[in-house]
Symmetry: C2
Subunit: 555 residues, 2 copies
């Protein structure tokens, strides 16, 4: 059965029933149909949330198909509910762009999904659209100001770093020349689009504490310089109020349910390779205000997802997970051991053994945070007993608890062993996470600490462009901000071809972007792009709708 | 009181109560909050709807502030309900772009508004966003196909006529060069963005009868030619299914309410100057299935709104209004008589008299449809008795019923006289509208008939580019389609400076666009642009949000 068929085979509870299980009354819900609702920010209880337990799910360096982080998060959450821990799973929203690229959604899989999965994967409650509009209103105001005779701030069009965004895999928009067409079209300039999840507005939404904070952060966005070299901020264009108004509903977390009828909160953006990549602080805090356990995820791999989750999000929100679940698959470990993608279902303990250092490196890196780790093997029917034994023995030798999880095949009851190990780890954890770097460290030191401690790299090499940009950002007073690396998710290094546990490598910073409103610096490593393209056979090829509005071929 | 303060001073009914007044049960509603809902297409009853009465509200050539068509439509609908005619007002959705341009919403005004007006004017239920995504998915698939080695259709990038779209007044996107950045960025080509309301997808949504029709129309979109000169359609890119899936909720009409708690259906796009400009066929048919009267609107002026409403929408849907309400203001007539905008509140019967030929011309043009006409004077407190008498006398001499309407100041009870005159006209109407042209007429004849019969023009002059494009469209078999003129709304001519009733003028067709999926040809007259810009003082300057999420400065 496909994911969508499984999802549609389950009768969903009315969302008010799901809410009522969290003691949320009907009049606090803003419905989007009968299975989705927005939740008011007033549900966040700063005292209560610090008493409850946050579990972070992350992964080893994934194969292109992913390790099943979301599936594991949902299965684990359902399992924790089965063993009487009141749990909410809190996830990031899927991006629409990739849905039409390589087939597949981002709402879990098999019997561990959140529903209605087709809505969640498409427009959902419109949050991405609102982010896009706020982002692009600022862009329109910039070009309008450059064009205007009477209200001109003197922006040098060559310096504008603010890009437009669109939630679409559209390589044609990556680099454009805009404002052509003569006098009425504006002053032509080079610019481009990022995918919406990589927009600074997404990060602002995910890192804001309330409406005022949101508005202020929007105002702090650095858009470019005047001809005299003075920085220009969104507030100089009086853009922040209208931007915040466009985000007034998007800032509210969304309630849905798992296939087992347990509550799920889904809010904020994906893609830790090119963005901060995890759900919003408000969503995580809301989950922690409403339940004893919150299971949340940050990927792709721990090098990107967990690092940013700790050093950016948890540091700013004053949160600390009680345990980290590291998801791995036997298939991916064989892939890291050199086995071709097409042969991963064949037993191959030699390849598995050769791939184990990737897992090892992630465990090593995660231990730097000083929190308990549980390895979760996302089971596939092709996994053999020999392979499983080898992997278990290896985890034992590393002194890390390990569980097989069957969320895809069996939902919550397939993840009870994992849930018990996670609960045991979390309940005995008394530490607070140790950040990888201090905010007072220089930007270069921050990058070095992340690249060495988390990726296992030797040095950080900056391009001439990057050196120039960094000097500028430091002179503007941004040196104390955390960093949000943009790097391929396919390798611990910045070269996607280096699988396993690369050694003796440097990280090459091609350029920087600054997110002065969200409050971080973005070093861009290697060849990573912040606007993806479509593949030769886009998934859209096979999608149709029938006379009754039923979707075929999606997921 | 501002419009938003008035709107917020009223306690809205729960939308299920509004629905229940139309015999729609709760389980047929898809809620978007407690005051908005999507309605299922199954509510359309093809037999029932033909028994009920459609009233079209249109206007004279408007001032920049508009004539109050929407306000009059809402007031008239509330008034018809007061005189015991079960009535639904069916409106087009506002576009987000202009909200941040020149201050003002498009959800009525004063005591004749639809609510929640701030939501309706912002993201509403996400229909525009979905249209944007469907439009831009096709664009991404085109550039992806041009870039692809293995699946290349051989599209000549110089011939691609499909543009991207965005619901934003952003002149910088009007003309761009896309796909720059070297080999990975695609094949560079000239292109641009239209505002979303002007997208062919909006027209397809407004003219579709059901999901299958929607999908088929999307497939028929003509995107450009191969290097060999063969036409390429969206279906060649297998885009239509995914596009229709993106529109699966957007195709459903939206139910809201007037300030007086009467039902309002709002669906589909605005801007009859650059698009077909009226609400969807599905929304109009749904309204007619649910109530005895449907009041709907088409503007800006009757030259654009009413003409397209009849010749495109009613012809395709097999509908015919029972009466046409022509909205005018004394201010606008003085403006057409040469009075400057800043002095329109001063009494000036001479200017009014000089401006009357604009009204006269619209009455004359509308009479060509063979339906009863009622003139509605949208009253302002600055109107003087002398002015009103002059106007009434003039309407009498033209043998057209006229009513003063006070929807802005008094809501429904301010429009009872209008409602009575409209009901009388509608109940005695036994004619079916007479189209301006036959579909079998040549494209040139169609344009001539519209320009002469409706605008009062002499000739239609085509540029060399337009001649070439027309030949191409005719050779592709599109000659039998209706035409959808793009022309300034500020004048009956194509020159926005020619107010009043211009005479001895030609219409200059600069170029054509083709909407092969929606099924019409777009002649573009004069200097009209399909992507607007922002003014020097954008309305966004004054918008803020407070700690509780309340909006200030919007509308």
């Amino acid at each position: 059965m496909t994911d969508i068929k499984i999802a549609q085979s389950v009768t969903a509870k009315h969302i008010k029933e799901v809410a009522s299980g969290l003691n949320i009354s009907e009049d606090q819900l803003e419905y989007y149909g009968s299975n989705k609702a927005k939740l008011p920010l007033s549900l966040i209880d700063e005292d209560q949330l610090r008493k409850n337990k946050l579990i972070l799910v992350t992964a080893i360096t994934p194969t292109p198909a992913g390790e099943g982080k979301t599936t594991t998060s949902i299965g684990l959450s359902d399992a924790l509910n089965l063993i009487d821990k009141r749990t909410v799973v809190v996830l990031r929203e899927p991006s629409l762009g990739p849905v039409f690229g390589i087939k597949g959604g981002a709402a879990g899989g098999g019997w561990s999904q959140v529903i209605p999965m087709e809505d969640i994967n498409l427009h959902f409650t419109g949050d991405f659209h609102a982010i896009e509009k706020a982002n692009n209103l600022l862009a329109a105001l910039i070009d309008n100001n450059i064009q205007s005779k009477s209200k001109n701030l003197g922006i040098d069009p060559r310096t504008v770093i603010w890009k437009r965004c669109m939630d679409m895999n559209d390589r044609g928009l990556r680099n454009i020349v805009a404002a052509l067409g003569g006098k009425s079209g504006g002053i032509p300039r080079e610019t481009g689009f990022n995918i919406t999840a990589a927009s600074e507005i997404m990060a602002i939404l995910c890192l804001s504490n309330n409406f005022e904070d949101l508005q202020e952060k929007c105002g702090n966005i650095y858009v470019g310089d005047t001809w005299e070299g003075k920085p220009v901020y969104a507030r100089d264009l009086k853009a922040q109020g209208a931007m915040a108004v466009l985000l007034k509903d998007a800032i509210k977390p969304n309630l849905v349910q798992t296939l087992e009828g347990n509550p799920a909160i889904i809010h904020g953006g994906p893609f830790a390779n090119i963005a901060q990549g995890t759900n919003s602080i408000l969503a995580t805090k809301m989950g922690l205000s409403l339940a004893d356990y919150v299971v949340t995820e940050a990927g792709f791999g721990a090098d990107l997802g967990a690092e940013k989750f700790m050093n950016i999000k948890c540091r700013q929100a004053g949160l600390s997970p009680k345990a980290i679940v590291l998801v791995a698959t036997i298939r991916a470990l064989k892939y890291h051991g050199g086995k071709p993608l097409a042969e991963l279902t064949d037993e191959d303990t030699a390849a598995l053994e050769k791939g184990l250092p990737n897992l090892e490196r992630h465990i090593h890196s995660l231990r730097s945070f000083g929190l308990p780790i549980v390895v979760s093997i996302n089971a596939f029917s092709s996994d053999t007993d020999k392979e499983k034994q080898l992997l278990f023995k290896h985890c034992e030798s590393l002194e890390v608890p390990v569980a097989l999880s069957y969320g895809w095949a069996d939902g919550g009851k397939g993840c009870v062993d994992l849930a018990e190990k996670v609960a045991m780890a979390a309940e005995s954890c008394e530490s607070i996470f140790k950040p990888t770097y201090a905010l007072e460290d220089s930007v270069r030191t921050k990058m070095e600490k992340v690249c060495r401690t988390i990726y296992g790299a030797e040095n950080v090499i900056l391009s001439n462009l990057a050196i120039r940009q960094l000097k500028r950002f430091e002179s503007l007073g941004y040196a104390d901000m955390p960093i949000c690396m943009a790097k391929t998710q396919k390798s611990l290094s910045d070269d996607e071809k280096r699988l396993g546990r690369p050694e003796n490598f440097d990280i090459h910073i091609r350029e920087f972007e600054i997110a002065a409103g969200a409050g971080f610096i973005v070093p861009i490593a290697g060849n990573i792009l912040r606007m993806p393209g479509l593949p030769a056979n886009p998934a859209s090829d096979n999608i149709t709708i029938d006379a009754d509005g039923n979707i075929e071929g999606l997921f």
